[in-house]
């Protein structure tokens, strides 16, 4: 979705370690318009950007317990744009007072042969979904309002059904490791979206 930096060295190498700060919430379909109005007022003045993406999640099951997860994303509205490959680490169990979910993040662009390449490497596609929605920006903050749809026939992105009657709202910032000032800004921005949306730090493990 955004132009990612290309990191040549492996994740544990010497490059800048980018961390993603994340807050998530949801908004019902009927309240979407009011949320979009509010975001248009709060965020930077730019052309309203919509997107339609198809994300495939690949798993590499190693000998040990935790599988290695990679997310490959392509744009349905711009088919010639390169694929976006993303690795998201485990959420950092830092101090509980930190307001946002923090995890290691590596983003790369990839060519259209990415699915074949990953299959050859031994990854297997675990699940896929289609996300359609709007994206807003306020400085370094990025707000994504998206509708997730389940793909009924594997590989066929036309035939989808929505997962739920809500839109997923995500507030995220990409920052180098060590900068902790982001979470305060995110929290104050999240305050401004209440009571329409409650953006909070949701640990995905809790919903296993």
């Amino acid at each position: 979705m955004e132009a990612p930096p290309v990191s040549v060295l492996p994740i544990t190498g010497g490059t800048i370690n980018m961390m993603e700060y994340l807050l998530q919430g949801s908004v019902l379909d009927q309240a979407l318009e009011s949320l979009l109005h509010r975001l248009r007022g709060l965020c930077d003045n730019m052309e309203p950007e919509t997107f339609a993406d198809h994300e495939l999640v690949y798993l590499l099951k190693g000998q040990q317990g935790n599988p290695f997860l990679l997310r490959a994303r392509r744009s349905l509205s711009h088919p010639t744009v390169p694929w976006h490959l993303r690795y998201l680490g485990q959420p950092e169990v830092g101090d509980k007072s930190r307001h946002a979910l923090v995890r290691n993040c590596v983003d790369v662009a990839a060519s259209h042969s990415l699915p074949d390449f990953l299959n050859e490497m031994g990854f297997r596609m675990d699940h896929e979904f289609v996300a359609k929605g709007h994206i807003f920006r306020r400085g370094v903050l990025k707000v994504v309002v998206s509708k997730l749809s389940r793909i009924l026939v594997p590989g066929n992105t036309e035939n989808t059904e929505p997962l739920s009657l809500s839109y997923l709202v995500e507030l995220s910032v990409l920052a180098p490791a060590g900068q902790d000032t982001m979470s305060e800004d995110m929290r104050s921005f999240a305050e401004q979206l209440k009571p329409l949306v409650h953006l909070e730090k949701i640990d995905p493990k809790r919903h296993m």
Partner: protein, 254 residues
């Protein structure tokens, strides 16, 4: 007596002219701001301009209502000389808006009756009022008075429980569903509800265990891991089974 009245008239006309000039200047600068500094204008400054205009209109009204002001209605203005020639004095006085005091501009500028459209509307309104009848009119007047007094009371007395009222109203229309939030976050996080081998809709355990295994085919190995620590409850190696939790399937198809 006459002289005093004349002096009073002159003085009030002078002050009226100066007030109207202030109003005109304020309007002029406001219009300039709206047309030229459109992007930089903020709503509070627009409100300030409107407040200024309203204040000036108020002073004009007070001036007119002042008891020292003679009634202007009783004065008569008669144009003494109309000429189609350009009058420089007049042009200077009116900032080039009225260069000629002629037959064309006099009916517009010295008009005392309202515009024809306004006259038409007034006639309609008075006909309507006459048609309704006195009792209905009285009732309407009373309702209007009641509404106005209610509104005034609400505006003048800020009540603490007003916030509670509005909060209660807002709670009746929730804009988000926490269950949906959790479902969506789980879907994005690790594909809960999205697993490819899972048919849409609620799953009956045991039935679909067979179907996906066959559709998996020889080319795909599908392994879904439930839980980061790889807990496998009641799982025999090599035997396809389905866990009770929806969305969590462990298949070993080799």
């Amino acid at each position: 007596m006459q002289q005093r009245e004349e002096k009073l008239l002159d003085a009030s006309v002078e002050s009226l002219i100066s007030r109207v000039a202030h109003l005109k200047n304020a309007l002029h600068s406001f219009i300039y701001k709206l047309e030229n500094e459109y992007e930089r204008l903020t709503w509070p400054s627009v409100l300030d301009n409107f407040a200024l205009l309203s204040g000036q209109l108020n002073t004009i009204n007070k001036l007119l209502r002042n008891e020292k002001t003679p009634s202007f209605r009783q004065q008569i203005i008669i144009p003494l000389l109309l000429s189609p020639d350009r009058d420089e004095e007049l042009a200077k006085l009116t900032e080039q808006r009225v260069p000629v005091f002629s037959h064309e501009i006099v009916p517009d500028h010295l008009r005392t009756k309202p515009d024809p459209e306004v006259e038409e509307q007034e006639k309609q309104l008075s006909a309507e009022a006459a048609r309704i009848g006195t009792e209905v009119a009285q009732k309407q007047i009373q309702t209007l008075n009641k509404l106005c007094s209610n509104l005034l009371e609400k505006l003048n007395n800020p009540r603490d429980d007003r916030d509670a009222d509005s909060a209660a109203i807002r709670q009746n229309k929730p804009s988000f569903n926490p269950a949906d939030t959790n479902a969506l976050v789980a879907a994005v996080g690790f594909g809960k509800g999205l697993s490819k081998c899972r048919p849409p809709g609620p799953v009956a355990p045991g039935h679909t265990g067979q179907g996906p295994m066959m559709s998996g085919g020889p080319t795909l190995q599908q392994v879904t891991i439930g839980g980061g620590s790889g807990q496998q409850q009641g799982m025999g190696p090599g035997a396809p089974q389905q866990q009770g939790q929806p969305g969590m399937k462990i298949l070993n198809v080799i």
